[in-house]
Symmetry: C2
Subunit: 216 residues, 2 copies
DNA sequence: AAATCTGTCAACGTTGAAGTTGATTGACGT
DNA sequence: ACGTCAATCAACTTCAACGTTGACAGATTT
């Protein structure tokens, strides 16, 4: 039924797409606040300012709504990040400076695409029922791709002698992504005490030079 | 009904407590694998090797089972960690060495109490329905307490000149806890490529001295 | 051996959220 | 004024998971 409607005006409609995106955004906020399982369509409808049944005008199911969030938004952001990361690699910069740019890229992406990407980080795809769907695998592939770029860069830095060789690069990578990804629990955008730029500086200083005072 | 039974043999019973703990452990594994909301009592019963209804012989509800996990296990571990942390503070060691011991404490605790504490970390209490219950607040209080110990130590390290002063200590703390807590996504106990001890060394080296090669 | 206790199980009742339907409202072109 | 269509809503059905009950088998006690 809602199916019929949606196929009828599928691509066109002026503000249909606009409302759809608005609903998508509201859903993202609710999913981020409560988690996928705990969030109900009622919660989402309430935030959207309408009845639960109206959601079915835009999406066929809760699953499809959740999937659309990733297919229409997060996946694109991940693509952008990978493209941007590869552009950084091609730049005429020191390897260390490239790594710094990648950290910057990632954290700014989290801030600019709030709350979409944090939603992806907080929902451990490995635990969700979607883990075996093609799109979930695609998301995972893209994430691994970005991690690989960083990981290779770490190997280069050790090989060229810029980074110390006594710490396994996989553990370095885990530490770095830990700092970055854990921000989903505390970093909120907007005018706050701590913003993404300060965090980037602090994390990069710490990761490159460490916490010890060089003058001591 | 199950109420009557449980109050009847409440404290006593030889292997009642043993089975209860076994069920608690199985539940923890399932909750950790699927998340609280997605996990069903059927899943837990299946792992426990019995019928779903039998669970009610030990716990009055899914909520109570989940709560018991924290009240009977996690809360105690957190207490131990705080006590151990305070013992470290009283030791005759450099402030830096004390911090190292705290990181060690935390990661070894995650390993020794697997999967209980990771369950606590992965379930963002701020998102769960329990967030306002007294025991959830108590858990949060204990977590904050441990974080405060680390945070104060960081302040000391900056004040005494051991640590650099140009990175805000709150951000240092976020970075450190990010590395540590993110391990819940990849560090599993048992004979693996990477274990807790290697992780402690790598994280401490990185956090203290950074990734840059001192000889370069 | 009778009584009781421990723990389990099949069957049922209850609830809450997902999903469906057809009527209805309001805007817009004719 | 009339018909059409986008969008909404109240009211319903369905379903999965929670929760309950009473019977029952084996062990233990008296």
């Amino acid at each position: 039924m809602s199916r019929r409607r949606r196929s009828a005006q599928n691509e066109s409609s002026p503000n249909y797409q606009a409302k759809r995106r608005e609903l998508l955004r509201d859903a993202a906020i609710v999913f981020q606040e409560k988690g996928y399982e705990a969030a109900t369509l009622n919660d989402i409808a309430e935030r959207f300012g309408t009845d639960r049944a109206s959601i079915y005008y835009y999406f066929a199911s809760k699953k499809e709504l959740f999937q659309a969030l990733f297919h229409d938004v997060v996946s694109g952001v991940l693509d952008e990040n990978i493209t941007a990361a590869e552009a950084v690699l091609a730049l005429d910069l020191s390897t260390a400076e490239k790594l710094r740019r990648l950290v910057e890229l990632q954290l700014l992406s989290y801030e600019n695409n709030y709350p979409y990407v944090y939603l992806y980080i907080q929902e451990d795809m490995a635990k969700l029922e979607f883990q075996s769907t093609p799109w979930a695998k695609d998301m995972l592939r893209k994430t691994r791709r970005f991690e690989k770029i960083v990981s290779d860069l770490l190997d280069d830095l050790v090989a060229e002698g810029t980074f110390r060789g006594d710490i396994p690069t996989p553990l370095m990578a885990k530490a770095l992504f830990g700092m970055i990804n854990w921000t989903h629990r505390w970093l909120k955008p907007g005018p706050r005490k701590v913003n993404a730029k300060q965090t980037i500086d602090a994390f990069c200083s710490l990761f490159f030079e460490g916490a010890l005072n060089p003058d001591a």
